[in-house]
Symmetry: C2
């Protein structure tokens, strides 16, 4: 079980790769994100200590996400095909459940509600990453996030 030191800003995976790995974060902070056709960056998830980050691992589908470090980090790298890890279905189901909630939020909640949910769910990430990345995770612009924080945008 090898661990690896990653410097802030270092890229662990690029979109389009065929052999993706699973990264278990032991310390620090990683993120996965994509770049759309217009060149815009969208953060898919943050992974602080204890979290797992991966993308299509164990399928023939090429990766669509980039993974890099937002802080100096130590990560455990699992080369193994996720489908071969019989015992680890539960984290998969948990990730499904997290993703399901994310879809639901994106479909049914305003940016304000999503922001409040984000703060409640990831209270310790808010101070560790720039505002523009939180905006990116929420699916809004940094300007809109500023409006929300200053109360210029209000839920009815």
């Amino acid at each position: 079980m090898k661990s690896r030191r990653v410097k802030k800003g270092e890229m662990l995976q690029k979109s389009g790769e065929l052999r993706s790995r699973i990264y278990v974060v032991q310390s620090g902070l990683l993120r996965s994100y994509l770049i759309d056709e217009k060149g815009k960056e969208h953060i898919f998830m943050f992974a602080p200590e204890g979290w797992v980050i991966a993308d299509n691992t164990g399928t023939e589908i090429p990766t669509t996400l980039f993974i890099d470090a937002l802080e100096d980090s130590i990560v455990q790298v699992r080369e193994k095909d996720i489908t071969k890890e019989h015992q680890n279905v539960t984290p998969l189901v948990k990730r499904l459940s997290v993703l399901q909630k994310r879809v639901v939020m994106l479909m049914s909640s305003s940016a304000i509600d999503r922001y409040e949910d984000f703060i409640a769910t990831y209270p310790n990430i808010v101070q560790r990453v720039p505002q523009r990345m939180i905006a990116s995770y929420l699916g809004i612009t940094p300007e809109a996030l500023s409006k929300i924080k200053s109360g210029k945008l209000r839920n009815i």
Copy 2:
């Protein structure tokens, strides 16, 4: 392995239940959806022949979705805890990948692009369900979908 006949409109699972099952659709069409705080319905997924539909199965998390039949259907009901089905990790990973794409689309694409992607991905579902359900799946109103179809809303 028991199969069950379900009449159109019949409810298979209600939000809030603790023991959820896995439904494998053999014929017909199921959907899962949620109802938000404002009482609005949001379709989470459609499941035609061959698809699997489930919600937090194998976790302690209560279900958040309703599941019902949009057509008379025959479904295989699996009572078994999803985590116990060692060999079936691949469908889980595939569902993760589908959900991941859904999040990405909701974050980065216009309603028009999402509609076109929906048609390309699920060509045979479009004719089988009412427009308002497609709108609900896309995260827009039926009125907005009408605008899109009549060309009154256009991508730049």
